[in-house]
């Protein structure tokens, strides 16, 4: 009897080991462990055994049963894993195929430059002021110390609509309007971005429409040294910490003194290259102390108040910063151009 049980165990284990699928395994479970299986049969025939043999055989039969059970369970785990793996293998996809993209668009590079400048000055307590693009001659010129026959009007040939109306040639009229609104009381701290228009034939370096961004700070005791301090910080923010600035005397009708600001060339670090025309310096903006006539005309007492103003061209800044060689790109709107500035 003992040999029979032992043989039964070995036979079952061999079959379990050889099972290839869960169905075969289930059949083996029924065959060996089922109610009609050989072990049940042995246990059922116990009555025929001697008192001494009974517990021994009983124990052995139970052990064999447990051992077969264990082998089946173990094999089942293995087969189940294999089945899952096989299914997953069949589900494999090419993970390197392109994904379904919904690619976002991005800011126009000029908007990117303008927002960067706006945000810098907002951080310094400036607000953003806007104004009409069609302006009165008064705000575009006269309020800015450019009376009707001033020779400096030649510097900016304009698109007139009527004798009194024109497309603004700079965003400075917004400054005049803002000062007027303050009714002679400072501080006035504004940044004025926007489109401006001049009578130029479009080519690689000229555009009849372009952007300008200007700043104005009017208060008691505003000094040229403050202009220098703020614009130095600005140059470092826009063009890198290592930038040096230099102020050169210049002329604008609405400022006195007037200065032009150069930054050390970020391309060659001041050594001299084609970007800076071998000078080591790049002209970046015009500025100066607000002319007393401009203050007075906008309702400020020039004995009490001083101020500084500055203006620059986002196109020029973007061209310098990104190495763009033709101003017309900004207005052609070729998406292959526009998309290059998604990080801007």
């Amino acid at each position: 009897m003992q040999e029979k049980l032992q043989a039964l165990k070995n036979e079952a284990k061999d079959l379990i080991q050889g099972a290839r699928d869960l169905k075969t395994l289930q059949d083996l479970r029924v065959k060996y462990l089922g109610k009609k299986g050989p072990i049940t049969e042995v246990l059922r025939g116990m009555g025929k055994l001697s008192k001494e043999e009974r517990p021994v055989i009983g124990q052995l039969a139970n052990d064999v049963r447990a051992s077969i059970q264990e082998a089946i369970d173990g094999k089942q785990g293995i087969l189940e894993n294999e089945a899952i793996e096989a299914r997953l293998a069949s589900e494999t996809i090419d993970v390197t195929l392109p994904g379904r993209i919904s690619s976002p668009g991005n800011h126009h590079p000029l908007t990117a430059v303008i927002e960067e400048i706006e945000d810098f000055f907002i951080g310094l307590g400036f607000s953003i002021a806007e104004g009409p693009e069609v302006e009165k001659d008064y705000y575009n010129f006269e309020a800015l110390n450019l009376p009707k026959d001033h020779p400096a009007r030649d510097m900016q040939d304009s698109f007139y609509i009527t004798e009194e109306l024109l497309l603004r040639t700079h965003t400075s009229p917004v400054q005049a309007r803002t000062m007027e609104k303050h009714k002679g009381k400072g501080p006035v701290k504004v940044i004025c971005p926007g489109k401006v228009y001049r009578r130029d034939t479009d080519d690689a370096t000229h555009s009849h429409q372009f952007m300008q961004i200007e700043g104005l700070y009017v208060d008691k005791n505003v000094r040229l040294s403050d202009l220098k301090g703020i614009l130095t910080a600005f140059a470092k923010k826009m063009f890198g910490e290592e930038r040096q600035i230099r102020l050169r005397p210049s002329f604008f009708p609405f400022t006195e003194p007037s200065v032009e600001m150069d930054i050390s060339c970020f391309h060659c670090n001041g050594e001299g290259c084609s970007v800076c025309k071998r000078t080591g310096w790049i002209e970046i903006l015009g500025s100066g102390m607000v002319h007393p006539n401009v203050l007075e005309m906008s309702g400020f007492d020039s004995k009490e108040y001083t101020g500084f103003a500055f203006g620059m061209g986002p196109e020029r800044i973007a061209m310098l910063k990104y190495g763009i060689d033709d101003i017309r790109h900004f207005y052609t709107n070729d998406t292959r151009f526009l998309k290059q500035f998604k990080r801007a």
Partner: protein
């Protein structure tokens, strides 16, 4: 203004300051030097040669064989110039010499004869052909007889000079003359100015015996002076004078004309020489022109004058346009024996108007216009010219200047607290430093208590107010030395306005939806300006430029979409078929009162064509359609939280597909449109199916939504019931939405359309729409009975109002 470095040395000691270094210092002090031009650039090894003999080349009619003495040797040179002759002193490029254009002179053979160098013309030496004197225009240059053989020819021609090109802005007109530049440079270098000492030897005969001067146009002519010089000999100017004019960019003509130009360059004072014999009378009358009066000017143009012009007359006829140009009738010629020399002051504005109306900007007019004249040297300039004419053209100068008007004016004095300099600049300069800078500028200044008194030289009409004086101190002191500080005023809060903040969100929203931001031109054609406007009714018109540069850019746009269509065409022409763009910008509508500002509105517009997403590898791409655009807009309105005030209604608009266009309403007002371009428009512009929208952004962003207020989350469950309705196919979904919303009342929390069907199982001309309706009362659980009742009400309303039946 072209400034000769060598000439400038006459007035200021430039020892140890190279032309480049000088240019840098002038630029830093405020007058931009645009170029430093070395006149001898690329020219080397040119000597003065003496043509010892000159014979015809045996094998060539037009060539000459010259034996040229170069000092150390005599060489044979073949020369083709028609004016070469024995005995001349000429510039010779020796073997090994260099000429501009990277030309190297080698020993060569011409038709069998050796040539050891080249006899040069001025243009071959790099002089602009426009500046070469007429007598040498077609041949070699010939020196004066005293030129020393073998010496460097470049110094004889002043080609060892450097020319500084100054960019003169309206505040630097004082540098439109050499003396003004000398003052400027002396101030920068802290040196003295050495001015010409003028000495005229007059004959006893008074000029008054020959001429009388009257100014009738006193308003425009403060001073007119005339000298008379007899017995002159008109011929080419001496070498040194020609050299200086060429360096300054003026072509030498003849000694008399050259001298007037030279003195203008030196003093800034325009002078004019009339041929006295041809002047036509013994009387100068300066008056306003008569309307329609004619004069033929020196450039041979006949000019018609008006009363705002001022003319010099002989008492009857005009002989010159004041401050601009002389007339041919009294022009100096080689026959001239006596000249009448004018040195006058004309009003800047009058000259500017005349020059600009007649389109004749001359060296003289620009100096009057820009006030680049040392007003109080007007008589000295006449003396200087008389002196030079005497020396160079050999004349007798009649005694005295015959004049009318005021010869000199007294200088203006600016008074200000000396501390103003530091207050404006942010510096800490001592009063002595300020005074010493002003004295470097030759401003007479002194301190009277705390008040600075500065007398401004007449040559500096640009300095009129204290701030100008501050600038003078600042620029000579140097802005490099001004500290960088931060403002000490009260701090302010910088912020965007609500409108600006929302607009930035609109930018980001559209970009998140895959649209690229475009910026197009505001100026367009008259036709395009008014196409696809939002408000195309009404008479309000476009804003047009008075003098456009082209029809293409003649009118301000009243809509943005036409500009975006151009951008799409650009892309299609370059095989880029998928384009999604948006633009935010102004549009312009004329005001009825023509001198009032036009109405400017900020619009947002978009254009879509091609595939909806980036093309991928899974079958056919989905193309953009009407609903793509509508979804993008609804998303925007939703994000701005105005969606509940927005509705879309079918519309017919020129240029758009009649069945695929909707007007966008904000409450009851049309604020925009969306739709497909009309197939005819698409075809005419070679476009594929293209969808556009334009919306008045200001209307949308100016809706005040108030503050955000939290609403408690519902504590009771909502219940969803579906309803499928069959309606005639021309019933719009929007109408069903409206009826359902109204009938559903407060219990109806949400409506979702989830199916639209037309076809099998439905009668022809009918369609079915299935909605999912969500019922909710945040305060309690709804009963079946209530929901059934509401659902029933909705169905009934749809039946009554739109003829809908429940789908079986």
């Amino acid at each position: 203004m072209l400034v000769s470095y060598n000439w400038l040395k006459d007035y200021v000691d430039l020892n140890g300051v190279s032309p480049e270094a000088l240019a840098d210092k002038i630029t830093k002090a405020g007058i931009e030097v645009e170029h430093v031009h070395a006149m001898s650039e690329g020219v080397k090894n040119i000597a003065v040669g003496h043509v010892v003999s000159c014979e015809q080349h045996p094998n060539a009619d037009k060539l000459n064989l010259c034996q040229v003495d170069l000092g150390d040797e005599t060489v044979q040179i073949v020369c083709g110039a028609p004016n070469v002759a024995k005995g001349q002193k000429v510039p010779v490029a020796k073997v090994g010499a260099r000429l501009p254009g990277n030309i190297k002179i080698k020993r060569s053979k011409l038709r069998g004869e050796t040539s050891n160098g080249m006899i040069c013309s001025l243009s071959e030496l790099g002089v602009d052909a426009k500046l070469v004197p007429k007598e040498f225009a077609d041949g070699i240059y010939v020196f004066e007889e005293d030129a020393v053989v073998g010496e460097n020819a470049l110094s004889y021609l002043n080609l060892d000079d450097h020319v500084l090109e100054l960019d003169i802005l309206p505040n630097s007109a004082h540098c439109l003359n050499m003396i003004g530049v000398a003052y400027e440079v002396a101030a920068i270098l802290n040196k003295d100015v050495d001015l010409p000492r003028v000495l005229v030897n007059e004959t006893p005969m008074p000029a008054e015996s020959k001429i009388r001067v009257n100014i009738e146009a006193k308003d425009a002519v403060p001073y007119y002076g005339a000298r008379v010089i007899e017995n002159i000999n008109v011929k080419p100017s001496p070498q040194w004078l020609q050299n200086r004019l060429i360096a300054a960019g003026i072509r030498p003509i003849s000694n008399i004309v050259d001298i007037t130009n030279y003195v203008m360059l030196e003093y800034g004072q325009p002078l004019h020489a009339f041929d006295y014999e041809r002047f036509g009378s013994d009387r100068v009358l300066v008056r306003h022109a008569n309307d329609g009066e004619m004069i033929t000017t020196l450039d041979d143009e006949e000019r018609t004058l008006t009363t705002s012009d001022v003319v010099i007359t002989n008492g009857i006829d005009p002989v010159a346009v004041a401050g601009v140009m002389g007339g041919v009738n009294s022009e100096v010629s080689s026959e001239t024996r006596t000249v009448l020399l004018e040195s006058a002051i004309f009003d800047a504005l009058t000259v500017r108007k005349t020059a600009s109306r007649l389109q004749m900007r001359t060296d003289a007019s620009s100096r009057y216009e820009k006030k680049g004249i040392d007003r109080n040297r007007v008589a000295e300039a006449a003396d200087r010219a008389a002196e030079l004419i005497q020396t160079i053209a050999g004349g007798d100068v009649l005694s005295g200047i015959v004049e009318d008007g005021v010869r000199t004016v007294s200088p203006q004095v600016i008074k200000m607290p000396w501390q103003k300099v530091n207050d404006v600049l942010g510096t800490d300069l001592a009063p002595d430093t300020i005074l010493s800078i002003l004295s470097r500028l030759n401003f007479q200044a002194e301190l009277n208590g705390d008040t600075l008194h500065a007398s401004i030289p007449i040559r500096r009409p640009d300095v009129t107010i204290p701030e100008d004086l501050v600038e003078e101190v600042g620029r000579i002191y140097g802005y490099d030395h001004v500290p960088a500080t931060l403002p000490e005023g009260p701090s302010t809060q910088g912020t965007l306005t609500a409108y600006q903040r929302k607009r930035r969100r609109v930018h980001r929203y559209f970009e998140g939806q895959g649209l690229q931001q475009a910026i197009t031109y505001s100026l367009t054609t008259g036709k395009k300006a008014s196409e696809l406007r939002i408000n195309n009714q009404g008479a309000s018109g476009s804003v047009q430029l008075a003098m456009p540069m082209s029809e293409e850019r003649s009118t301000l746009r009243m809509s943005i979409v036409p500009q975006l269509i151009e951008v799409v065409q650009y892309h299609l022409n370059r095989q880029m078929g998928d384009v999604k763009l948006y633009e935010i910008g102004k549009i312009f509508i004329a005001n009825e009162e023509k001198n009032d500002l036009p109405i400017e509105r900020e619009h947002v517009a978009g254009i879509f064509t091609g595939s909806r997403e980036e093309r991928i590898w899974e079958g056919q791409p989905l193309l953009v359609d009407y609903y793509t655009v509508k979804g993008v807009l609804e998303g925007l309105f939703n994000q701005l939280d105005v969606l509940s005030s927005i509705s879309f209604k079918p519309a017919k608009r020129d240029g758009l597909h009649p069945g695929r266009t909707a007007d966008i309403y904000l409450n009851n007002k049309v604020i925009g449109y969306l739709g497909q371009l009309h197939p005819n428009v698409q075809k005419a512009n070679d476009l594929q199916d293209t969808f556009v929208f334009e919306c008045d952004l200001q209307s949308v962003l100016n809706v005040d939504m108030g503050a955000i207020t939290y609403k408690a989350l519902p504590r009771y469950p909502s219940i969803t019931r579906d309803i499928a309705l069959v309606v005639k196919e021309d019933v719009k979904a929007g109408e069903l939405y409206d009826v359902i919303r109204t009938a559903g009342g407060s219990l109806l929390n949400d409506i979702q359309l989830f199916d639209v069907y037309q076809g099998e199982h439905l009668e022809e001309g009918q369609k079915s729409l299935a909605f999912s309706l969500k019922y909710l009362d945040p305060e309690r659980t709804l009963t079946d009975k209530e929901i059934n009742q509401t659902h029933e009400d909705i169905l009934n309303a749809c039946q009554d109002k739109l003829g809908a039946v429940l789908r079986g």
